[in-house]
Subunit: 272 residues, 3 copies
C-alpha cells in the first residue's frame, strides 16, 4: 500500500458541473484519508479512445497501489460490466468498454474482477445515470477498507479492448494515423518507438522522412527547438509515440489535420 | 469534526487566473493541514443561479463538517453581507445573494451568523475587489481554529433566497423551465421528483410525455441507453430533477434550446 | 519547513492531456507525502509574460517553503538553464526564461542555483520534450529529501528577466499597457500602485481620469459596484495594479481592447 490511499479520476465530466466533485465527496465519505488527484475531466464526451490514451500516459507514473477510477462511460445504465483490475503495480476501476486498452498493451494484467456484489458497497440507492457517484466512488472505499477484491465478483471470461488500426506498411515505410490532438495542437499518432525499431535499427539514421496526409513534414528530430519557430517537425515524444508539431506553433492548424489523419514514415529514396 | 479539515471551493474565477490559487495559499497559511477540494471554478461569471445549482448537487456528498466556501459574488465590495451557515451536516461560507437557495430547500438550517467581526480574522488589509482571498479564506482558518462561530456576528433577521419560478400546471400537466445546461449538453429543469409525485403516483406509469418548447421529446426513461444513439429522451436524473438529453449526443444543440427554455410533462390524451 | 511538503504547479499544459497528471504521479513517487496544489495549467501556450503574472499573484500567498514548479518552457530540450531559487520565503523551480520576473520585482532573492547535476535526481532517462516530468518533478523529490540544493549546481552569473515596458509619462500623466486579460474580461495593466504614488500622493484625489486607447474610462474607483451595471470603471486591483473593468460585464468586449492596449492616467485639466 502507498503511504496514503491515493486515488485518481479520469472522466469526461468537464470541470463546470457538480459531477466530479460529487464523486470526490462520496470517496471522502467512504475513505476520509484518501488523497484524490485529477488525471483529466476533459476527455472528449464519450470518447473512449481519447480516454484510453490519456489514462495510459498518466496513471503508470503514480506510486504503486494507486487506485485509478475511470468514468468515460457512454454505456452507463446498460448491462456493460464494471471491472476492477490490476495492471503492473496500479489498480484500475473502469467500465468494460475498451478504455484499458493502452494500459493493457504496456503492463501485465495481474488480477481482474467483474463487480457483481453491489450489496458489499453499502450503497442504498443507485441512480442509473451516475454510476461514477453511486458505484465507482463507493468501490474505492471498499478497496481501501482492505477487504479482498475477489469478494466483489468473478474474473470475467473476457473483457473489451479497442480494435485499433495497427500501423502497417511495405518495406521501408510505416503507415499509421493520428489518435490524439493535444492542447498545443500537436498530433500524436499510433506509430510507436517499437514499430519503428522493428523496421529500422536506428531512429537517428539519415533518410527517415515523415509525411502527414501526403504532405512532407521533415526528418525525425529529437526536440521542438531543432527547427525554427513556426516550422513543422516530427519526433518520438515523451510517451514513445510519433508526434507532429510546429515549434512554438500549432501543427493542427498549420496542416489543417486532426484526429484520424494519415501519417507515414519513409526511408527517403523509397516510396514517393 | 472530520479527520482532516476539509474545505471546498465554488467560484466563478475560472482556472487560468491566479485568483483560486491565491485563496488556496491563504487558506493553507491559516490552516496548514487543510485539504482543499474544488467543486467548480467555472460557474458562469456572476451567475448565482448556476452556482446555487452546482453547489447543492456536490457539497452535501462530502463528509460532515466540511466547510464549503462559495465566491460567486457580483456584489463584492458593496454592503452585501457575508454569512456562515450550517445546513444539514455541512458548513457554508457564502455571500448573501441567494446562492444557498437549493441547499436550503433540501437541508435544514441549523445555525447562521452574519460575519461582522473582521478583526478576529487577523487580516491586516482587505482589497475591496477580492474578498475571497482577504475575508473568506481567513474565515476558513478561523473556523478550523475551533473558535466559536457565534463570535463572528449575530444571526441575521433574514437572508436572501432566489425567487425561482415554481413549476406549475393544470390537472394532468406540469410546466417548468431549464435552470442549467451541463457539459454534455443536457438540459436540467426545475421540475423535481417531488413535483412529479405530487401530481402522479407512479413515474413509470404509461402516458407521461415530455415536451420542450412545445416540441415532443418522448416518454420518461430511466437511462440514456434506452433510446437509440442520437435520439432524444427525458429522465429523472441523479439529482432527482427532470433532465432532457440525447443518447451520445447534445440535446442543447439538437433542440436549439437552453437556459430558461419551457419544459412540460403531460399525461398523454390530455392537453395538446 | 511547512507541516507538509507543499508543491504548486504553474504550466501551459492545459487540463485535458496527461501531462500535468504525469508530473503529479512522478512527484508523488518521489515524495509520497507531498500535497500538490495547481496554480494554473492554463497559462496561454508558451506565453512567459502571462505565466510570470499568474505566478507572482498566487505563489507568495502560500505557506513558507512551498515549492513552486513552473513549466512554461518554450525552450524545452534546448540549452536554456533550469534554476532553483528562493525569493522571499518561497522556493521556485523554473526554466531560465524570465518567468520569475514579477516575483523577483516584489521579493528579495535569497538563493539561486543552476541545476547541472542531474545524476543526483535518480532519473534513468530524460525525454527531451518533457522536462516537467523527467527533471522538474524529480527535482521536487530531491528538494524535499532535505539534501542541500547547493549540490545541484552553482549560482549562475546572471539569469533572465523579461524586458518589460516601464510605465512612463509627462508631468501629470502615466502611460502603460495591458499585460493580462482575466477570465472576467478585465484588463490588468503594468501601472502599479507604486507608479501612481510616485506621481500623485493620494490616489483618491479628485481629477484622476483613466483612458484606454484614448477612450475615456472614468475616474479611479475602489470597487466594481460603484458604477451602474454595464458601465466601465478603473480601479487599483487586489494585486496593486491598475485594472479596467465593466461592472457585471466584460471590459475586453465592451472596449474591444486586449493584451498590449495603451492605458493612461491623467490629472484632469492636463493633457487632452
Amino acid at each position: 500500500m502507498a503511504n496514503r490511499p491515493l486515488v485518481t479520476l479520469t472522466t469526461d465530466f468537464g470541470l463546470a458541473d457538480p459531477y466530479a466533485a460529487a464523486m470526490k465527496g462520496v470517496i471522502l465519505r467512504h475513505c476520509p484519508d484518501a488523497e484524490i488527484v485529477d488525471i483529466s475531466h476533459q476527455v472528449p464526451s464519450h470518447q473512449v479512445l481519447s480516454g484510453a490514451y490519456i489514462l495510459a500516459n498518466a496513471a503508470p507514473f503514480f506510486p504503486p497501489n494507486t487506485v485509478h477510477v475511470v468514468v468515460v462511460d457512454p454505456g452507463v445504465g446498460t448491462d456493460r460490466a464494471i471491472l476492477v483490475g490490476q495492471f503492473g503495480d496500479q489498480l484500475y476501476v473502469f467500465p468494460d468498454n475498451g478504455i484499458i486498452t493502452f494500459v493493457k498493451e504496456a503492463y501485465p494484467l495481474r488480477n481482474l474482477v467483474e463487480v457483481r456484489e453491489l450489496g458489499l458497497l453499502g450503497v442504498e440507492e443507485v441512480a442509473s445515470t451516475f454510476h461514477g457517484r453511486d458505484i465507482f466512488a463507493p468501490l474505492v472505499g471498499y478497496i481501501f477498507s482492505g477487504k479482498p477484491i475477489s469478494r466483489l465478483g468473478m474474473m470475467p471470461d473476457s473483457y473489451t479492448l479497442l480494435d485499433l488500426p495497427e500501423p502497417r506498411g511495405q518495406e521501408g515505410e510505416i503507415n499509421g494515423q493520428v489518435i490524439h490532438v493535444d492542447h498545443f495542437g500537436n498530433l500524436i499518432t499510433n506509430i510507436t518507438r517499437k514499430h519503428m525499431l522493428q523496421r529500422w535499427e536506428n531512429l537517428t539514421q539519415a533518410g527517415l522522412e515523415v509525411y502527414c496526409q501526403g504532405r512532407h513534414v521533415g526528418p525525425l528530430q529529437s526536440t521542438y527547438g531543432q527547427v525554427e519557430p513556426g516550422r513543422p517537425l516530427a519526433l518520438m515524444n515523451s510517451m514513445g509515440m510519433l508526434e507532429l508539431a510546429v515549434n512554438l506553433g500549432r501543427f493542427r492548424d498549420s496542416f489543417d489535420a486532426g484526429f484520424g489523419a494519415d501519417v507515414s514514415v519513409r526511408l527517403s529514396g523509397e516510396g514517393q
